[in-house]
């Protein structure tokens, strides 16, 4: 087989980028500020519902309450294991929570 476009040895080879762009795309977004402690923060706890992930997050919120005074806790369990949270979940998190922790069970 002749590879089209590669038979002109003296001219080298011109080849195409196979990707949809750099892995780190410039989005203009940056990480949210990290608070120094959780006092007064409303903590969003997001899980995929697999295994004992909900149980773990409940225990985690209990542990966090021992070392800080959160302003509240919001539990979000994804509607389905394999897909991203739904719009309503995102809206609830971004409007009500000031920090968030995600986790999953397997």
């Amino acid at each position: 087989m002749t590879i089209q476009g590669t038979d002109r040895r003296s001219e080298g080879i011109v080849a195409l980028d196979p990707t949809s762009g750099p892995l780190e795309k410039p989005t203009g977004r940056k990480l949210a500020a990290r608070p120094s402690d959780l006092d007064g923060q409303v903590i969003g706890l997001v899980t995929n519902g697999l295994g004992r992930s909900q149980e773990f997050m409940t225990a985690l919120s209990g542990e966090l309450a021992k070392i800080s005074r959160p302003g509240g806790v919001i539990h979000v369990v994804k509607n389905s294991v394999s897909i991203a949270p739904e719009r309503a979940d995102w809206a609830r998190l971004t409007s009500e929570a000031s920090v968030a922790i995600t986790g999953f069970g397997g």
């Binding site: 080879i13 011109v14 080849a15 195409l16 980028d17 196979p18 990707t19 795309k25 389905s80």
Partner: protein
């Protein structure tokens, strides 16, 4: 002009960045260093070769084959052609690659989950219809293994699209713990000529003379070797032991799963001798699952049609392979020859 098509050249329309190399060796090294390969050498995707592939499928470079919204990715025909060239495909394989990419990017094929999962799910491409014989898809002896260009490169092309375009790169969106060598390439054809079983694509609504691919995202592959069973029921019971032990799972998004069952020639023979159709096999499997008490809840197929049965392989080894699904539907997609599509 595009080779033989009478269409205007699309080389000027290609949007991919171009890179110059003095020779093949430096190109291969650079593509590897940039993370653009699966670790194996690639065929240079020159503008001329990509144009030739697009011409064979009758597609414009910017034709959209699908998207992965969670990754902000839209997959075009140009993307697919570049990666198909790299995989080592022949131009006449490209319509089959396009169909496989479209199938994998169907919403219910769940690309984001199946390519990002810790479990390292793989994509199995089953080819049906006349295209198998036209381009040399192996359906019989050793069809899962190396040595068949169409099988090897079509499966590889899909995986390169998943890597390079859908961004399923280890450490980025590929989070597999161990992954699997099935992710290099897994494509084969159904041996439709072996017996009178209805081909998979026909069972899923396509005409026998229509070529099609079915893409199944597989989490676990289980071989059931069974040299002692001599009846359809006994062979099925061997499969059921594994199916009931492992379960077949779906989530709320997928709702109902499919399991792909590839039956070798030796096992097919016993079904044929007893006059069992694929529907008979499915009905038996489904009834046994339903009768399995608590285990029935772990078989999330929705009905007997969730058993996707395919005959393949050469004679001699009495075996059946069970492909347990990841969280996705198996999607069957028609292969459109260039004559059925048109560049716009």
């Amino acid at each position: 002009m595009a080779a033989g098509s009478g269409l205007a050249s699309v080389i000027g329309m290609l949007r991919a960045a171009r890179h110059d190399y003095p020779d093949y060796a430096s190109l291969v090294e650079d593509y590897y260093e940039r993370g653009w390969t699966d670790g194996l050498p690639i065929v240079p995707p020159t503008p001329e070769s990509v144009e030739c592939f697009l011409d064979h499928a009758g597609l414009a470079p910017d034709a959209i084959l699908g998207a992965v919204p969670t990754r902000d990715v839209v997959v075009t025909a140009e993307h697919a052609a570049i990666n198909a060239v790299m995989a080592g495909c022949r131009p006449d394989y490209f319509p089959t690659v396009v169909a496989a990419v479209r199938a994998h990017l169907h919403e219910k094929a769940n690309c984001h989950s199946t390519t990002g999962t810790l479990s390292g799910a793989s994509q199995i491409v089953v080819v049906n219809g006349p295209v198998r014989n036209e381009i040399g898809i192996e359906c019989r002896g050793a069809c899962f293994g190396p040595g068949f260009r169409a099988n090897a490169t079509i499966g590889r092309a899909l995986r390169l699209v998943i890597r390079n375009v859908c961004r399923a790169v280890p450490g980025v969106f590929d989070r597999a713990s161990l992954s699997t060598p099935f992710r290099y390439s897994f494509c084969f054809g159904e041996d439709e000529e072996a017996n009178d079983w209805k081909p998979l694509h026909v069972e899923r609504g396509f005409a026998p003379d229509q070529s099609a691919v079915t893409v199944h995202s597989t989490m676990i592959v289980c071989e059931v070797m069974d040299y002692t069973s001599r009846t359809p029921e006994a062979i099925c019971d061997g499969w059921l032991a594994e199916i009931l032990r492992r379960g077949i799972f779906a989530d709320r998004f997928v709702a109902e799963a499919n399991i792909l069952i590839v039956v070798s020639a030796e096992h097919q023979r016993y079904f044929a001798q007893a006059g069992w159709s694929k529907a008979d096999v499915r009905d038996y499997l489904w009834k046994q699952c339903q009768a399995s008490g608590e285990n029935a809840k772990r078989i999330m197929l929705g009905g007997p049609e969730g058993f996707l049965i395919v005959g393949a392989g050469g004679p001699g080894h009495a075996t059946t392979w069970l492909f347990f699904p990841h969280l996705a539907w198996a999607i069957t997609q028609a292969i459109d020859p260039a004559s059925a599509t048109r560049r716009t």
